[in-house]
Symmetry: C2
Subunit: 309 residues, 2 copies
């Protein structure tokens, strides 16, 4: 018996309402539907109906939900993905991210943890040379020298030619394409290749905490649930290398007040880092951070483990 069938049966036992209704909706799925789609929608329909039954959702509440779902798409634009944001606010992207990327290692060889991509990554970020700065427009932040190595999580050896793709909001809490009047294209974005010793280094900003936009559905949820809209300050990183599993992640300054209550639930312990005072004529902070990638053949946490029976 599949999990979905089991759930549907459990609902049957406890519900005061038509015990066959959910199974009837699932049974409407036709024979040409592929197995994975059938699995996903059977589970989705079961949980949607169980949710409605569990809280005995009223007509008015359902209708409020209908309006809310329409609002999500209506406020979205090519520069604003509110469905993405809504799924972040409900923890869904972090959960999917954990299932996709959490790595397992018998020997304790733990690569850098992943964190959600978020809606602000750009496929068009330029390559820049090590030692260059991603700061291209005026700001009020603390210039930071960020440096480290990219390492193999198993052998601990440096990875040559790994790509560190970094993006961050400016000191006003906005990314370049949210803020075209103040920031030039690709401000605070760049890709860097590790050298023959696996080293990368560049100048960026100590990141600044910011509020998610509160003028749409996500803002309505924050108000409704009495939650704050802040993300802790963070820098986004996407680290890739041939023959290694890529890592999409974020790093957070350890003294940020929102570390424990990130409104998109993306903080993990090994992603909390220390920006220390420093002076080299360009920067006033330094962040030293080695990044660790798992070889492509290492099993993922979500992979089935061999049976010992």
């Amino acid at each position: 018996m599949s999990d979905t069938t089991k759930n549907a049966n459990e609902s049957k036992k406890t519900s005061r309402f038509d015990p066959n209704f959910t199974q009837n909706v699932i049974n409407a799925i036709g024979p040409k539907c592929d197995d994975r789609t059938r699995e996903i929608f059977s589970s989705l329909i079961t949980h949607l109906h169980d949710f409605a039954r569990e809280v005995e959702l009223t007509t008015e509440e359902w209708m409020a939900g209908v309006k809310f779902v329409n609002w999500i798409g209506q406020i979205s634009t090519p520069q604003r993905n509110e469905a993405h944001r809504m799924s972040d606010v409900l923890g869904l992207e972090s959960l999917v991210d954990e299932m996709a990327h959490a790595q397992m290692s018998e020997a304790g060889d733990i690569p850098t943890s992943s964190a959600i991509l978020g809606p602000f990554w750009s496929p068009r970020a330029p390559f820049r040379d090590n030692g260059d700065t991603i700061i291209r427009s005026p700001h009020e932040g603390l210039v930071t020298l960020m440096k480290g190595k990219v390492l193999d999580s198993v052998t601990k050896k440096p990875i040559v030619n790994a790509v560190v793709d970094i993006w961050q909001a400016s000191s006003n809490g906005k990314y370049d394409f949210q803020d075209p009047d103040n920031q030039e294209d690709n401000n605070l974005r760049g890709k860097f290749r590790t050298n023959e010793n696996g080293d990368y280094w560049f100048y960026c900003l100590r990141p600044t905490a910011y509020s998610l936009p509160t003028d749409g559905p996500a803002g309505a949820i924050f108000k409704l649930l009495d939650r704050h809209p802040f993300r802790p300050a963070h820098i986004h990183l996407m680290i890739t290398a041939d023959n290694y599993k890529g890592c999409v992640t974020q790093i957070f300054p350890k003294d940020d007040p929102y570390i424990a209550t990130d409104t998109v639930f993306a903080v993990k312990d090994d992603l909390v880092v220390d920006f220390v005072p420093f002076e080299d004529g360009k920067a006033v902070r330094k962040l030293e951070l080695d990044l660790s990638l798992a070889p492509k053949d290492q099993p993922a946490k979500g992979d089935p483990t061999p049976s010992t029976a």
Copy 2:
């Protein structure tokens, strides 16, 4: 222990992933959130996460869902409510409707069953006189005399001054505001008051089966799930009277091919009716249908039953 807490605990036992994640998201709800909102969102977050864990939703599948949710709002207009349609296609409106309106009667005094409102009811439908026709524009349908009484479901006595609000699609499957080139405003809509004997009568069309619009998210779901997009032919009715619980419902011709597979799951046995051949110089079909309303003080099926312990 509440249902939500229990579900979260069950997830903990079976998940290979962070066992505290869902509870952390629920715990982010602040102290000023009202109890009902907390109940709804705790259950919603639990079921959303349990769904994702149960099917081990991939990043690509999640991202497809994000795009899909945005599409729902983007295609919606004042004349097109795709979130409403989507919730119908997944059975949610029929489920909420059952919980809100199903009536219980120890004595077997069953009022007319409810069915979903759907997105085409209009608050502006005009009152018309008994014997009048709601057909105001050209059509290719079968003119029908519909007549009957509105009755008290307990006493079986006629209800005077009850309002029967009727709306239906034309023979091309479209409602007036979907089809302004062919149908005048309020074509195939009208409200009728029962007379001193509880009688109503008017001319309408034998309804025609139609496909839901397939050019948007609902259409994509039909294709993905190998489901047909048809509703059985139906007439919408909203029956109201002072001191009675109103009834929103639909009636379906018994020989319609989609009776068993209504794509919005709204058909109930007592709503299947017989349009019989007839001739009065105006109509070629007749439908005789008594409608039955529950007194306001009758308990609903969803109400708690007194404990016998």
